[in-house]
């Protein structure tokens, strides 16, 4: 594989209007954020944000440190309760619901610090994500078990972790940990993935593999929302960009329109 970063187009960026992928207009709104605010004591972490995540595209949240991007993820997934506003998933409000209920409803996330199940093997990490609804053991007998293992094998192969199957997450290299984080989310049946800086620190080969995997998943109908700081990655990945600063949504639209806005660039690079 080339050591150079591939562009989104080289990695089969879908054509506008082709089914679930492409254009950001006219697609179903999967997640609707309305007038969302969050105060931490005197700090206004999120300030009256309204944003829609549309089906089958990659929306990227950008903004300087402290803009409220991760806080927004935490509120969508129920890890933090908002002070005001609503988050609606496929038409139903998820405010007040426990994070595990929101996860089972189809919203999966990764963490900036990965939060892998460090003392479990790679295979166990993936299997655990496929068992959210089970209590003592998985139902369905040998047939379902064989299907689960088949899915694990596929995920391992696609993420390049087959050789690390029985390695503890703790013992993986940095890039492998990043891919395990992605492999875990691939194991869920979620329709919406919230990825917190999934490509940061990846070498070019790993980055290209990551980009390809993401595009394949989006093509399969997965909706993705990414937090990312690296503008090269933002350009290569995004179908739509939402720009946050100091808890406010300043802009939301096509990547080029956002990235070419000198006022937003000044904020992003701290030149205001």
């Amino acid at each position: 594989m080339s050591e150079q970063l591939m562009t989104a187009q080289e990695i089969e960026k879908p054509a506008p209007g082709s089914g679930f992928t492409g254009s950001t207009d006219g697609q179903d709104v999967l997640l609707e954020i309305t007038d969302l605010s969050k105060n931490f004591g005197g700090l206004q972490a999120i300030n009256d944000v309204s944003l829609n995540l549309r089906a089958g595209i990659i929306t990227t949240l950008v903004g300087p440190n402290g803009a409220g991007k991760t806080t927004l993820f935490n509120m969508i997934t129920g890890h933090i309760s908002p002070s005001e506003g609503d988050v609606s998933w496929q038409g139903e409000s998820v405010i007040g619901q426990a994070p595990w209920r929101i996860a089972r409803a189809g919203i999966a996330r990764t963490f900036q610090d990965l939060r892998l199940f460090t003392h479990m093997t790679v295979e166990e990490n993936i299997l655990t994500m496929m068992e959210s609804g089970s209590w003592l053991w998985q139902s369905g007998g040998k047939f379902r078990k064989a299907k689960r293992l088949d899915k694990v094998n596929q995920i391992l192969e696609r993420t390049g972790l087959t050789d690390k199957r029985h390695t503890r997450a703790l013992d993986l290299a940095y890039a492998e940990r990043k891919f395990l984080s992605l492999a875990r989310i691939m194991a869920t049946d979620s329709r919406l993935w919230l990825l917190d800086e999934p490509a940061s620190g990846l070498d070019p080969n790993s980055y290209n593999l990551f980009l390809r995997l993401l595009r394949e998943e989006v093509k399969e109908g997965i909706t993705v929302c990414i937090i990312e700081h690296n503008l090269d990655i933002v350009v290569n990945i995004s179908d739509r960009i939402a720009f946050l600063d100091q808890g406010k949504l300043l802009a939301d639209g096509e990547p080029q329109a956002i990235l070419n806005d000198p006022a937003l660039a000044a904020i992003y690079f701290g030149e205001r």
Binding site: W100, R109, R115, F117, T128, W135, Q138
Partner: protein, 293 residues
């Protein structure tokens, strides 16, 4: 001499049950409880009461003792497991202190400070068990069954959920795990199985009082788990054997002042814990000396 060794082996197997059941929550779920002796005690007192007032039948007394411990553990687990780990440690310590007071004062159930005396020999399907080797066999069978249950559980999706919660509670929540329910179930199961040890202990000693169920016992069992090796099957067994044998071994060391054996034992426990935490934090049996589970 044979009776002495048999006595030691019975006590080791009873404490091995305790350490194995505590390891289930410490090693696999990351829940540190300082109240394990409470469920040991509830098992003992309940089995004694059933044996003295209803029937000494093993298959009646043990399930009732397990049920009593399970219900009591719910009182601790339901409120305490909604908060993070360190709060559970504090809550379990509170329960331990409270339970010792109750065990000392609730005379109709525990006999107060004097304890319960004259517990009849346990019967297994009508056959009385009173010889030490019979007790040893019975407690070893119980230990093997409990190890089997735990071994099966930790390899199911329930076990993976426990380990996931131990490693990252927030990630487990984000993967759809109902963390509170899973943690509560694990504490209830661990407590119910600890009650088996309490019942066996009560039947074996035919006398129990609060001295056996105090904070010292909870700390001793936790030390067995940590010294032996958390999240392993062999670790708690080895820890129980080592810490139960240590007082006997110390009495054979003639150069030690025999009147101070108790204090020396505490010093050895403490030093062993400190050295292990520095050099082998996963415990003696840990397959990952650097602290892996």
């Amino acid at each position: 001499m044979t009776a002495y060794i048999l006595n030691l082996l019975v006590l080791i197997s009873v404490y091995a049950i305790l350490s194995t059941t505590l390891n289930f929550i410490i090693g696999y779920a990351g829940i540190f409880s300082l109240a394990h002796a409470v469920f040991f005690g509830i098992g003992g007192y309940t089995a004694a009461l059933v044996a003295m007032n209803v029937t000494p039948e093993f298959f009646v007394a043990i399930p009732v003792a397990m049920a009593a411990a399970a219900v009591t553990s719910l009182l601790l687990a339901l409120p305490a497991l909604r908060v993070r780990g360190e709060y559970f440690v504090a809550a379990s310590l509170g329960l331990q202190v409270l339970a010792v007071t109750l065990f000392s004062e609730w005379k109709s159930f525990t006999g107060g400070i004097g304890g319960v005396i004259g517990i009849p020999a346990v019967e297994m399907l009508g056959y009385p068990i009173y010889k030490p080797w019979q007790f040893l066999l019975m407690s070893l069978i119980c230990l093997v069954i409990i190890i089997g249950i735990i071994r099966i559980l930790v390899h199911t999706s329930f076990g993976r959920s426990l380990k996931a919660i131990r490693d990252s509670e927030s990630a487990a929540l984000a993967s759809g795990k109902n963390v509170t329910v899973i943690k509560t179930l694990s504490v209830v199961l661990s407590s119910a199985l600890a009650a088996v040890a309490g019942a066996l202990y009560a039947f074996y000693m035919s006398f129990i009082n609060v001295q056996s169920f105090m904070l010292d016992t909870s700390v001793l069992v936790m030390a067995m788990v940590i010294i032996g090796g958390t999240a392993t099957i062999l670790g708690p067994l080895l820890g129980a054997a080592l810490l139960m044998l240590m007082p006997s071994v110390l009495t054979y060391l003639s150069f030690l002042p025999q009147t101070e054996i108790g204090s020396i034992q505490q010093i050895v426990y403490g030093m062993a814990m400190v050295l292990l935490m520095i050099f082998r934090p996963g415990g003696i049996v840990s397959s990952h000396p650097g602290g892996g589970k």
